[in-house]
Symmetry: C2
Subunit: 542 residues, 2 copies
């Protein structure tokens, strides 16, 4: 039996694109003499639809596209495609997260997911009714094939799902071991550094449990905040990898079960390089899937905007990235020089707009009507907001998407101006701590000095007042970042005074994050839709 692992990039809700892609991959798999081609979870719908499912005609439109695949599938090949199905029972949630087995002139067969993640970024409990893994069998070339969907294989003790979900029942241990000749898994598993190792562990555990080979097909591509990194693979009954698809790109890997071998692509193992590729994919897909071609950003001469510019150029090419220098009364000449030098290095167009006169005029109007005012936070924020006005005006003028440059450390403690530097269509590095921003910038410079060195070595500053440094308002980043990591990713109780101070800063700035643009998820717990905290009534330490 030859199996194709079809690692596609689905576009949520775009059924024409998705069904065309699926039919093309089926044909490719057939051309390569495969008997079966396996697609990711929700391959036809795209993941994750959340409340798009509440519009009943969306699922109807998907099922219409499915009909077309069913009638167009060529002879001699069988496809297993992730879809959203309608729950045939009148009770419970209206949909099923399913895989459908399709072949020419045969009735299709449906298998549904049992374990529904409802934590972090996942909301499957909102619309999906659980299936029953023990029923998910089909006979193929004399083999008993078990179909599982994503979470269904993650209930092994020690790695049972998420930290806030320990599954009572492992659907796999309720199946007689001898009944299984081959296990398939369809996934839409978002990128987290080191996640591939965990996937290898659960797949190995499943394969060895059943003493059967296993195929794991993951989605690739990005949708809003989530980046699917692909990395689909197949193992033998001992857990040894037989076939391996690449990371971060569409692929069609082949497994030959008789020969016990398959096609193999290298994985991205360097962590910073994997973060870079994830962010680039996330940025590229966000821009193109929301109908944009071009992006722009404000370049301050600091490290955050420099890094976002590098990622944008990687994702979209220098011709689609424009930089804007927005000098104000406290911008040092060095900042402009460094920003300018970076644009030259990246080969991107840049323009400079001054906020000086605008700032003077608006501050004077405030002073005259509400003053006299001393220079303070109001004036700092006003500068950031005038920059926001210019950058959004450029969006309007050029039909270009504005990239924000906030990082996770700033977002955590609210060191950012709402409607100022938080203006953005997307926050590509909003899930990278400042120390990771430095690391990734250095990674960019590992071969030659792409980012002018002084951008990396100068002390971080917002340049919104005389001689301002980030450390005037914040703990140094090498103290701040481990605490943010501990509180957000590890969800540990703050103990020391420093930890409590940072925790309280986090809670008090929840209102800014509520209104933040989508944040590309690059860690195990990002700010954004996967973290839902109240504004009124956060628990504050005394």
């Amino acid at each position: 039996m030859r199996i194709a692992l079809s690692q596609i990039n689905s576009h949520l809700g775009d059924f024409e694109t998705n069904s065309k892609k699926i039919l093309e991959q089926i044909q490719s798999a057939k051309d390569r003499h495969c008997d079966l081609v396996v697609f990711p979870e929700c391959a036809l719908m795209g993941y994750h639809p959340v409340d798009l499912l509440e519009q009943p005609y969306v699922v109807e439109a998907q099922l219409k596209a499915l009909k077309k695949i069913e009638t167009s599938i060529p002879d001699g090949i069988t496809a297993l495609v992730g879809i959203i199905a309608i729950n045939p029972n009148k009770v419970g949630k209206p949909f099923l997260n399913s895989a459908i087995l399709i072949s020419k002139n045969k009735p299709s067969k449906l298998f549904s997911k049992q374990l529904l993640p409802t934590y972090d970024v996942f909301d499957e409990g909102r619309h999906i009714e659980p299936g029953e893994t023990a029923k998910n069998f089909f006979k193929f070339k004399g083999q008993n094939v078990l179909v599982t969907i994503c979470e269904d294989i993650w209930a092994w003790p020690q790695r049972g799902g998420h930290r806030y979900q320990t599954y009572g029942k492992n659907p796999l241990t309720q199946i007689p071991k001898s009944k299984v000749d081959l296990v398939l898994n369809l996934s839409a598993s978002p990128y987290i550094p080191k996640k591939q190792k965990e996937r290898q562990l659960v797949v190995k555990q499943t394969a060895t449990h059943f003493n059967a080979p296993m195929v794991y097909v993951n989605m690739v591509g990005a949708q809003d905040e989530l980046i699917y990194d692909g990395g689909s693979f197949a193992v033998d009954s001992k857990g040894k990898i037989l076939a391996q698809a690449c990371h971060f790109e569409e692929d069609l890997a082949i497994l030959d079960l008789e020969k016990n071998e398959g096609s193999k692509k290298p994985l991205v193992t360097h962590e910073m390089e994997s973060i870079r590729q994830a962010a680039v994919l996330g940025l590229k897909d966000f821009v193109s899937k929301s109908g944009f071609e071009k992006v722009h950003l404000g370049l301050s001469g600091g490290i955050d905007s420099a890094l976002v510019a590098c990622l944008a150029v990687d994702a979209l090419g220098p011709q689609n990235v424009k930089a804007f220098l927005l000098p104000g009364p406290y911008t040092s000449p060095l900042s402009n020089q460094l920003a300018q030098k970076l644009c030259e290095n990246l080969g991107i167009e840049s323009h400079s707009l001054s906020i000086n006169t605008g700032f003077e005029v608006l501050a004077e109007e405030l002073n005259e009507k509400l003053g006299p005012l001393e220079f303070g936070l109001t004036h700092e924020n006003l500068q950031a907001r005038i920059r926001g006005n210019f950058l959004m005006a450029i969006s309007n003028l050029k039909g270009s998407l504005l990239l924000g440059t906030s990082n996770k450390s700033e977002l955590a403690v609210g060191y950012s101006t709402l409607y100022g530097d938080l203006c953005a269509g997307l926050l590509p590095i909003g899930d990278l701590l400042k120390t990771q921003v430095f690391e990734l910038a250095k990674h960019y410079n590992s071969e030659h000095e792409l980012i002018p060195l002084e951008i990396i070595t100068r002390p971080p500053t917002a340049e919104l007042r005389e001689n301002q440094k980030d450390e005037d308002s914040l703990p140094p980043y090498d103290q701040l970042d481990p605490v943010v990591y501990k509180i957000v990713e590890k969800v540990k109780t703050p103990k020391s005074d420093l930890e409590k101070r940072i925790y309280n800063m986090m809670m008090k700035s929840e209102f800014k994050r509520w209104q933040a643009a989508p944040i590309l998820k690059l860690s195990s717990h990002a700010f954004g839709r996967g973290r839902r905290l109240p504004i009124t009534g956060a628990y504050i330490y005394p």
Copy 2:
């Protein structure tokens, strides 16, 4: 047996305030010779905590406050208090949504919620493990008392939960009818117009099913987007109302079961008046619970900002509301006059800041560096954003919360400027359609002309270009609003060309709503956290 229905306003995560309030109410109930006092769902924690529960020390702190209630409760009275409990089992979600029965020197007893809403604004499936209603009994004064929590009584056919959740099992029909002498329900049920009627129906259905009296205690107060309207009540075994607490305020209603009578307050039955009181409560609690005293807003001379000003004055008093007129190049003299007149009628302070010079300067900088530019959308948005700059500067200067004036119709079709008129700490009328805005404004004028009549009768305009009217860009509101209602609240498939046009406008403006401030929920389906749609990949009609 005398029972007190303690309808309190809990402050999420503020355990000192909540436990003090609970002990005071226990004492009041005792003073009024009650045997039992029943509190709302999550009375001690506050509702709804969502991911605040992920911080384990938050539940610990709540349990510490609970200990204090257990040791301080006076003799001779028993209290049933809604709390978040720790799931004693090692599997499943870590918490239970529970009621705890407390009396002096007796071990407390725990009862847990079985049906966990995970739809719309509710996320209970994220952290809560279901309990078992059939086990939720205690013996009190010789009576078998059944404890239910909120959703547990909503699984009757025909009104089973939410439109996206039909419960397979009704936990109540699995209990022998004869086993029940009295039913208690602890709720945190958010306001929706006409919701009280539905509550009366399910409570009557439950009481008559068991042929037993029933007590329903609802939360009052607001938290972020949700407004709890109270309206707690008790019925006899036929469903006749014996006791009734008020709407929108804390209360302690008394039921005397032997005498078959109780205290009764009138309910708010006029729909516009109930919407007004709900919005006022939502606004007041959002402001105070997030630590503010004062609010301000931009007054345009249009109906939306006029209505928000009225609500703010009702919620906080005229001394805590400041209005800012922000005339620009296209503001008519009439707009300023009407805004001024409204401030006089409301007795609020007003200031005027001109955006003219700021607009000229910023537009000229854009023109010089990126132009020559013709007047267009860029200039319209720029005016709105300079207004946003001023209003946020005032937040910084005065420590006052900015109220936004966007309504649901505008939010639906994206007729608003991101970082411009969308600047806000809260959107108090973001869940009212424009036609409801008119109705509520007229309701304000029902006794005397509080809102200058011309504000209500003039055609809506954003005044961002010469002779602009909303109807230049949008369908007339009397056509737009029924379609928005149909698509958002009724989730119906768009059929006509007009419906498809509006649906597509809605989908394409998802990115603006992603970044919108919290919206007070005043309908069965609001924009905000209860509606989770993707930005990349919304399904668009061809």
